[in-house]
């Protein structure tokens, strides 16, 4: 399981950006299909993108919360450069937390077009 685990690893590190990737893929693929096949359903698509964005942000927040826990709730500041299990864990957690922040921003960026653009166009 990626969540509720005791120690972070490379997979937990990659979770937030992977969620961004899935969100992006969903927005692009769903948008392309709807605009090609059923432009009249764009309203529903925008709602679906809103829902997907909410879901993505929840998963990223969960990954971020787990990272904060692995990080020891900030008890130990970077650079996390000691050859110990603790610093290894704190480093991975800190990097995951940063990635969660970036991924959340990128997910929001990705959702903005669906907020503003109400026609398929072109």
């Amino acid at each position: 399981m990626l969540f509720r685990r005791e120690t972070p690893n490379l997979w937990t590190l990659l979770t937030p950006p992977a969620v961004w990737a899935l969100h992006f893929l969903f927005c692009y693929v769903a948008g392309a299909i709807i605009c090609a096949k059923a432009p009249e359903a764009l309203g529903e698509l925008r709602l679906a993108i809103a829902a997907a964005t909410g879901l993505a942000l929840v998963i990223i927040a969960a990954a971020g919360a787990q990272a904060v826990r692995h990080w020891g709730f900030g008890s130990d500041a970077p650079p996390h450069n000691q050859p110990t299990d603790e610093d290894q864990k704190h480093f991975l957690a800190f990097a995951t937390l940063l990635l969660a922040g970036l991924s959340a921003v990128a997910v929001l960026f990705g959702a903005l077009p669906a907020l503003f653009i109400a026609e398929c166009g072109a």
Binding site: N9, L10, L13, L14, P17, A18, W20, A21, F24, C27, Y28, G31, A32, I33, C35, A36, K37, L42, P78, P79, H80, N81, P83, D85, D87, Q88, H90, F91, L92, F94, A95, L98, L99, L102, S103, V105, A106, F109, G110, L112, P113, A114, F116, I117, E119, C120, G121, A122
Partner: protein
């Protein structure tokens, strides 16, 4: 440990003995046999030299282009030659210089940086190098025969698929580069496994040099970026060779699909060449700031974040083709978002320099020049990421200026910084600081003089790729200035090349820059062994923080101090905390990778000229050569199960399944292979979206019963291989052979049924894109079952020869892993071809 045992030899005698053992095991062959060397240190040097040569070649092409454009109405070269010049310039700079030099530099310095004797697959590196060299000479040399590709480096159909308007050059591009892409994926396998499994004991994931982080990310990106281009190349070449209409709108195809597949590769590729170069700066900046990097975690964020986001940008190359507005918005947003992690790296470098006491040596000069140029290119990037601005600037010289600012600032200058920085440890000599300053200022000034005016030329409306222009449009003097700049920059490159090649440079002291990372342990580059003994690591900058480290490494105080059995060995450690797990025997020098590359390359080249029999013969011999190479050189059963690795640790010599590096190599390769397959599936659904019905009216999907029969046979083959693995674990040798044989027969049957299905339905691939897409998916799947049969045959031969035992089962475990992916391929093909038609 030995302290309590009676002393049998003095320390000096022991050191001399160990050095002699290592020198013998790692000897670099001399004379013509030099080219059989399979050692990343040697291959990395060849690789770097070859890709730099291609850079110089492509640079000369650029100078001819600039000479032609210097004045209006110039007739230095003909329009046709000009097309070849700019196509080959872009193609060579990207495919033969920017990407390969990353692989070259990485396999050259990564082993040293990780204090590894070698990375796990030196023969694969050699094979990759020979593929690269053969493909590169083939593609680059074509211009000497007036046969170079001439439709631009991204080869847009319908022009590039038109065999009337484009000659053999397009085939040379497609087949030559497909062949080179194999080399890139081979390098990605080597580098990912190297970073994850070949670090020195104690070098935990939080202590890894930042360069290794970047290499890891870029290796992963290659696996997802190159395969879509390979898939695109397959579709493209099927159209050019056999008239399958993938990009022909008249028969249901769509040229835009090529643009998608090309740029799904092409935009991540920009970051694939940018990140490893920035990685060089991440090593150089701390050394000259005299302090550890500030914000190690932030760099990891930036590298991982950029790696991911770079896959969401591809359509910003396609803003003008009429995508839905919503799609423009998504790609524009992601293009802006990627500026965040990219900017973070720049701030980390600047902060590290501010916090330290910066020494402005030549590498730092190039590093700061790189940052200045790249930031400028990044800012115009933020501009063109906005679709409305891009509509104005698209295909103008503004874009030419933008892309050269990002690539030369983000890739070329950091690389030259790296060249000045690493030259002493690779060659053992110091480059001249005086010539370095000349070279830098000529290049920096020349670059800006050449490319800064192009922004204005572009905004004044000059389109890219025109071979000349009339006077009086306000472009004249701008172009002349650009030409002067280009030649100035070339003079800087010449100064650098002269300095690198001239004899009589002073010998470099050990660790001349007083750096903190392990590559600087290397003393005399003529010693072939990588590192004398593998030290335990406790710091990100071991040479700064671990006292007496170099001396004790030299004295053989650490792991693997000698080679008592005369074998090449390297340490395998855990992915996260780098505890030692295995002593891996790595293969020695051999001509087999060279022979395999020549034969496989021959097959690609013969296909270009439609010499089908030769192509098939060369390909079959190539596969046979690879089989011989695998049989004689891999998965050797060691003469004893384990060996003392030094410091009182005893480690196994053999590992299989997920504990072995070979299993990871197979896994990584198949991830790349799966990405190529998914790209073909993407093509199917792309056509599905643009057609009102797919399959179109009057066309039947492939025969359902045959498809399901093929799927069932493939499933049974997969189950038989699982059974064989289980039986092998239980030591039932007879049952193993029976099951592997059954799996091979079932695979053949499955492939045959799958191929029969579209045949039975009368699907003609030339008639329409639907049957062509069906055939491509089915052929891909059948080919994978066929390759599976070869592997099963290999295992069966191993079982009969007594090489496959309950404990020594590397091959079987790897083939079962392949089988998982092959079966997933079959299942996906079935789902797409049988179920999707029912959904429309």
């Amino acid at each position: 440990m030995s302290a309590v045992e009676p002393r049998t030899e003095t320390d000096d005698a022991r050191m001399r003995r160990e050095e002699a053992e290592l020198r013998a095991a790692w000897e670099t062959p001399r004379g013509w046999r030099h080219f059989s060397a399979c050692n990343n240190q040697t291959v990395g040097l060849w690789y770097t030299g070859a890709s730099f040569f291609f850079f110089l070649f492509a640079g000369v092409l650029a100078l001819i282009i600039r000479a032609q454009l210097a004045v209006p109405g110039n007739d230095l070269v003909s329009p046709g030659t000009y097309n070849q010049l700019f196509t080959l310039h872009g193609t060579m700079m990207m495919f033969l210089f920017a990407v390969p030099i990353f692989e070259a530099v990485a396999i050259l310095i990564l082993p040293q940086m990780l204090a590894a004797r070698d990375l796990p697959f030196p023969r694969l590196s050699a094979f990759g190098f020979w593929c690269f060299l053969i493909g590169g000479v083939f593609v680059g040399g074509s211009i000497l025969f007036n046969a170079a590709p001439d439709s631009g480096w991204f080869m847009y159909p319908p022009l590039a698929t038109d065999t009337e308007q484009t000659g053999i050059g397009a085939d040379i591009w497609l087949l030559g580069l497909s062949f080179i892409e194999i080399a890139s994926i081979a390098a990605a396998v080597e580098l990912i496994v190297g970073v994850l499994k070949c670090r020195p004991p104690g070098m935990r994931i939080n202590l890894m040099p930042l360069y290794a982080w970047y290499v890891l990310i870029v290796g992963g990106m290659i696996l997802f970026a190159f395969p879509p281009l390979i898939a695109g190349d397959i579709l493209f070449e099927m159209q050019r060779l056999f008239d399958w209409p993938f990009f022909d709108a008249a028969r249901g195809g769509d040229p835009v699909l090529w643009q998608h597949l090309f740029w799904i590769f092409g935009h991540p590729e920009v970051y694939i060449i940018f990140l490893p170069s920035i990685a060089l700066l991440a090593m150089i900046v701390p050394t000259f700031a005299r302090r550890p990097i500030l914000g190690y975690g932030w760099i990891v964020l930036a590298a991982v974040g950029t790696g991911f986001l770079s896959f969401g940008l591809w359509a910003h190359h396609m803003f003008t083709i009429g995508l839905p507005w919503l799609s423009l918005g998504f790609f524009s947003a992601a293009s802006e978002a990627v500026a965040i992690p990219t900017g973070v790296q720049i701030f980390v470098f600047v902060a590290t320099l501010l916090a330290g006491r910066a020494i402005f040596s030549i590498p730092m000069l190039f590093a700061t020049g790189a940052l200045a140029i790249f930031v400028f290119g990044g800012l115009t990037g933020v501009m063109v990421a906005l679709a409305p601005f891009d509509w104005q600037a698209h295909d103008s010289y503004f874009i030419v200026a933008h892309l050269h600012y990002t690539l030369i600032g983000g890739m070329f200058f950091p690389l030259i910084a790296g060249l000045y920085y690493f030259y002493p440890f690779v060659v053992g000599r110091m480059l001249s600081a005086r010539l370095g300053r000349w070279s830098f200022w000529l290049m920096f000034a020349g670059f800006n003089i050449a490319f800064l005016p192009m922004h204005i030329t572009g905004l004044r409306g000059m389109p890219r790729r025109v071979y000349t222009y009339p006077e009086g449009l306000g472009w004249d003097w701008l172009n002349l200035v650009s030409t002067v700049g280009a030649f100035t920059m070339a003079a800087g490159v010449l100064v650098m090349v002269w300095d690198a090649l001239r004899p009589g440079k002073p010998r470099a002291p050990r660790n001349p820059w007083n750096a903190g990372t392990l590559e600087w342990v290397a003393g005399d580059p003529s010693e072939p062994w990588g590192i004398r003994s593998v030290p335990p690591i406790r710091s990100r900058y071991p040479l700064w923080d671990q006292p007496n480290l170099i001396r004790e490494i030299d004295e053989g105080k650490f792991y693997l101090p000698g080679a008592p059995e005369g074998k090449r060995e390297t340490l395998i450690t855990d992915v996260l905390d780098a505890t030692p797990l295995q002593v891996l025997r790595v293969p020695g020098n051999s001509f087999k990778p060279l022979i395999a590359a020549v034969l496989i390359g021959g097959s690609f080249i013969a296909t270009t000229f439609h010499w089908w029999l030769l192509a098939i013969a060369s390909g079959a011999l190539g596969i046979a050569a690879i089989m011989v190479w695998l049989w004689t050189g891999t998965a050797a059963i060691p003469e004893k199960p384990e060996r003392g690795a030094g410091l009182g640790v005893t480690l196994p010599l053999y590992a299989s399944g997920p504990a072995s590096v070979g299993w990871w190599a197979m896994f990584i390769t198949m991830v790349g292979d799966g990405t190529a397959f998914i790209s073909l599936v993407f093509a199917y659904f792309y056509y599905w979206t643009i057609h009102p019905a797919f399959p179109p009216a009057g066309m039947a999907p492939p025969d359902g019963a045959l498809m399901l029969g093929g799927g069932a046979a493939a499933l049974a083959a997969w189950a038989a291989m699982l059974g064989a693995r289980r039986a092998n674990g239980g030591g039932h040798a007879g049952r193993v052979r029976l099951l592997i044989g059954a799996a091979a027969l079932l695979s053949v049957a499955g492939a045959a049924l799958l191929l029969l299905a579209p045949w039975q339905a009368g699907l003609d691939p030339v008639a329409h894109v639907y049957p062509a897409t069906v055939w491509v998916l089915v052929l891909w799947t059948a080919l994978h079952l066929g390759v599976g049969v070869l592997m099963q045959g290999y295992c069966l031969a191993g079982a009969l020869a007594g090489r496959l035992t309950a404990r020594h089962d590397i091959d079987l475990r790897n083939v079962v892993l392949y089988g998982h992916f092959a079966f997933l391929t079959v299942a996906t093909t079935l789902a797409v071809l049988v179920l999707a038609p029912r959904a429309t």
